[in-house]
Structures are given as structure tokens and as C-alpha cells.
Symmetry: C2
Amino acid sequence: MGKPAKQHGKLFLPDIEFYYVKDIEARCLASLLGIAESMYNQMKEGRVPELKIATRTKYNIEYNEDSEVWVYGDRRSVRSAKTVKGAYMLLRMAYVIGFLKEQLNANKSSTLRELYYISENWGMAKFNEQQESDRLVEDLEILTAFQREHFHIRPEEDGATVIGPLRIREETRRGMREIHCQDDVGEGGYQIPVNVDKIEFVDHDAKFVIAIETGGMRDRLVENGFDEKFDAIIVHLKGQPARSTRRLLRRLNTELGLPVVVFTDGDPWSYRIYASVAYGSIKSAHLSEYLATPAAKFVGIRPSDIVKYELPSDKLTDQDIKALNAILQDPRFNTEFWKKEVTLQLELGKKSEQQALAKYGLDYVTDVYLPERLTELGII
Amino acid sequence: MGKPAKQHGKLFLPDIEFYYVKDIEARCLASLLGIAESMYNQMKEGRVPELKIATRTKYNIEYNEDSEVWVYGDRRSVRSAKTVKGAYMLLRMAYVIGFLKEQLNANKSSTLRELYYISENWGMAKFNEQQESDRLVEDLEILTAFQREHFHIRPEEDGATVIGPLRIREETRRGMREIHCQDDVGEGGYQIPVNVDKIEFVDHDAKFVIAIETGGMRDRLVENGFDEKFDAIIVHLKGQPARSTRRLLRRLNTELGLPVVVFTDGDPWSYRIYASVAYGSIKSAHLSEYLATPAAKFVGIRPSDIVKYELPSDKLTDQDIKALNAILQDPRFNTEFWKKEVTLQLELGKKSEQQALAKYGLDYVTDVYLPERLTELGII
């Protein structure tokens, strides 16, 4: 195998080094306990405790020139024990911090769902629905500038599979494992773990990364040997990608310096999949610098492709039209390319799927469509 | 590693031997061409061609004593070129058989979605929607008694992941791979391929197989080392299991003689997940003898557990109540156990999730709940 992986290139907040996972967790715990300490001190000084936290709406999203991603702006809202609602919120936060402290000390982890059920025994601090506990975990992410993965809180969602000329090292409960993502896996590929920071890149022979929306198209590229022919790492997004998948793509881009392209269907939901990879999402803008890959290029089906390739298409639904109009207002899509394509799509009234390319045979996508587009973009 | 895998135990129709995949495909192709030949001969004899095919409704489902699964009965419906609809159907079938012949000869495969798009160039034989082509592939499965996997038609759905003391051998495009599902994989486990018959079991140290509905619970068992402590193979069902997942469970049960238990939430949708593993589904009753594991035991959350363990619960929705009443009428659930539990659930008006056990801490499920239930069932 060729190039050794760069020893962790430039990363933004917080700066993660694989070998210091334990150290990160110590800092993360200190940061969590700092929140509890702040509440305690406020009370000791005879003040009603409060916390200030970034407002999470699209009115508080701004573009960061340095990191090229969208992050939260300066607007803050206050959670104060002056109101009953605020007091409950701070009480629950104290319980959650206590639970996370225990969990980190025992080197255990739990899901967002489990955390919700664990609160059953917290008396007045019990959550009424999971949305509340999920949101509180987000609050803690924003307050500490760490990620829930560092708190050892796992999502339910399933991460991506990877196939391609890449060798990784993963820290498992049975020790370190070195796995080559072509030679040591089956046709299903390497299943990435929930916490992608437990993976280290060892070496690779790849020229770029292609992230694919649907399983059918992922299997098509694998069957046609696209990874071997074009030295590509194939990542299956499985629809709207999990955080771990987005984190992996960012790491492949920033640490290995590999271009990332995103191959999706040609409809507004798919453009949002691309946007969540490239620019981050409003819901997790506090993590954009950790999860987003601003350099990611869109190689999905374009509205102009529907005309150019005479692709089989479906009529836009009312929901599609609404979503396309929302995209025209979305700051993340404020470019000539997207304005032109989305406007064209609204005129055409049509959408197409990536598998529609099968109209020209099973090899068309790997022999013609992708090579043409990747050449245009200067990737191959 | 201990026991070598039995060289393929008793299997029902068609009898599959790993080393004869090519031979199976030859027989499958012959069977497909036989359908076309039959149409041709009917026309040559001056008759209007027709096909007889099993009716796929719940009124044509019957229990097969030998194989212990539900299969289609004797009712047949006729597709005849006497009607325009029937003529189209036979024309499309001829085209699909032609496409499958080419595909099998070239050793390629395609998805159900791709097949639909490929028909774009078939003139009058073009499908109007994917449902039509999906159904035609089912017709071909019933007519040939082969599976779409043998036609090299892949689904979109994602198969299970496996972790546990099992060594498999998989035929990949890069040659044979031997993979131990604990030692050679990351925490995400081994991702099974779409066609499970490309896997061979080499050896194992397992006492049983546990199939789990949710990712959160699967990760819980892995983190708690359940596979190591109890010599268990952990399979993630990912909700309603894909065909490949059900095929894998059946093969683990019949070829390795391992008991299979299914661990789900306590609601009607989860009982259906169990039923589709154990008894097969109405939609694919022609494949029950290939996909179902009649010996599979339910270890999911029972309505009586909600009372016994005072589990956190949610109110049944109207949909839930409707589904529970349907289960009381479903022949697959016609046992004392299910009648009692489902009736109790309707009285309680409640449902609980498997992760609700976290109320008693993160280890309760692996230290108390599952060991108790598995002991009751004589599995451990």
C-alpha cells in the first residue's frame, strides 16, 4: 500500500488526536463538571442560577470564513431558574451531568433513548419525552464545545459502510484491529463504528471519495469495480447521513486530503443530503466545523441532466415544489449553479433518480456518466 | 475454533449447495427459459398463451406440516393473452426473461429499481410503475421455484450485521475471504452481503443466535460483551428484516443447528417482525421454506413484562389497537401464549420498548433480563 496517512491534518474545534481519546474525555468531563460548578457558585453567591446558550434557529446561522462552514451566531437565550420551566431544565441538566460523569468513569456508553429511560428514577428530574433529553444533550454539546460521542452517548442511526483502497485501524473492545477496506471485508464493505474517532487511517491508494445516496447505486459501483478502476473509496450514505458518516467524510477530506464527491438522486431531499455533508445542518450547526466537508462536490443527478440524458422521471409533488422553493431561500444554496438548476427543475416539473441512468444499461453510470462528470470537475 | 460447520443440513426447496452456485444458476436459467418455451409452444399449437400462478392472498396460505411454515395453497389464477392486460403481462415477462438470460450469462446483477428503468427501451413492454416489475419478479419466483437472488436481482434494502464466534467464507469479486465475526471485524460487525448464499459457514463456538430489532440494543449487547459471555451470535435485524437477514437466520438454524431467539420491542409491529422471521410473510409465502425459521423463539418485551418489571410505557395508538386485533385473527399467532399476551396488552392499553429496561441501569438487560428468559426457554 502506498501513501501513509498524514498524521492528522488540520482539524478545527476541538482538536482531536486519536491517541489522546482518553485525554479528550478527561477534558470533556471537566467541561461538563464546570457547568454544574457554575450553577453551584451562582447559588452560593445568593443568585438565582442561569445559563446562556446559543439560539438554534436559522436566524442565528452565519458563515464562518475561516472554516468555510455555517455556524451559530452571537444570539444567546437564557435558561434561568427564575421560571419553573427553567428550574426543571437546570435540575435535569445536573442529573444528566451526574449520569455522564459516572458513565465516563466506568468507560460505558448509552444511547439517547436509554438516557431518556434512565431518567425514570430521577423523581422530579424525569424527562416527559425523549425530545427533551435529546435537546438537553445538544445544549451540553453547545455549552462544552464537545460532541455527544465524547460524552459516550450513541445515536440509534446506523453508520455508513466503506469499500475502497483504504487501511484503517480501529480500537475495539478486543484490542486494535487493522482492516483493509477491500482485502479484509466482504462485498458488504467495512461497517464504520458509531464513534468514528476510534478509527485511525493507516494508509491508502485512493484518489477520491464518492459518497452515494442509495444502496442500489452503491452496489452497482461495487459490482462494476468502480473503486478498483478509479482508485475510489465508496461510502454508502444510506439516505440522510448519520453524524458518524459525515464525520468520516470530513476526516477523509481533511486528514488524507482526498476530494469528496456526493452522488445522489435529482430531487430536493437529495440536494439537502448533499448540503448536510458539505455545509452542515441547522440542527447541528454547533458541530459544523467537526462534521461538514465544505470542499465536497455535488455529482448527483441535476435537473439539466433530465433534459440532457432524457432520463425517466417522475412528476414533482406539492411537497417537492415547496422544498425546492425553500432551497431557493436557503443561504447554503445561494450560488449561481443551484439557482439555475433549481429554477430549471421548477420549470420542468420533474425529478429523476440516480438509478434512472440504467435506461442506458447497467454500465452506463460507471463507464460514461460518472467519468464525464468527474473529468469536468477535475477529480480524475 | 471448535465445531466445524455441518456440511449443509437438511434444506428445503430448492436444495442449495454452496459449491454448486453456478449449477443452481444454470438450472434457474433453464427454468426461466422453460416459461418462455411454454408460451411459444402454446402459440405454435394455435392456442392463446396463458400461465397459471398461485394466488397471493391470505385466503391461499396454509400450514405445511413437514416444513412447519406457512406456504401458498392450491388456488391458482390464470394470466391469459385473451385480455389486453394479460397479453401485456406475458409480453413483459418475455422481455424480463430475455434480460435475465443476458444478465446471468454476463455474470452481472441488478436491482429491482434498475430493472424497472431498463424497461424504458422495451417499447410496449415498458413498465408503468415499479410495483409492476416487482410483482413480475415475484411471479417468476413462484413459477420457477427459484429466488430472485438466483436471477441476480438485488433488493435495495440493507442486510444485517453479525458479531459473534463464527467464521465465514465469502465469495467476493476479489476471491474468497475468510472472516471471523469477532476477530476480523470492527465494532460495527460483519456486514452480510445481499446474496447470503455466497457465504459458507466455516466453524463456530456459538451456543445460540440472538436477533435484535434496534441498533441501540444491538450496541448495548456488544458493549456489554454478551456475545463473549454467552457464546452468542448477535444479528442486528434493523427493524423489519431484509430477506437476506431472514435467510441468514434460517441457515444458522438449519445448517449449524443453533437455536435462534428474537429480541424486539413489545408492540404489534415488533410481533410481526418476530413472525416474519419465524413463520414467513404473506407476501413471500412462496419462499417460506427458504427464509423462515419456525424454531425461532420470541424473547422480546411481553405485555406481561410491562406489569412484571413496571416498565416505562407509551399509550397504544389507534393503529396499534387495530394491529393487535388483526394479530388475534392471524393464523400465525394462533397459540395460547400470543392470545393471552395480546389480550392483556389490549387491556393494559400500553406498549414498551426493549430499551425501557434501561430504567434499571445499563447492564440489567444482559445481567438479569435476558439470562432469566433464556434460562426459562432452556437456551442457556
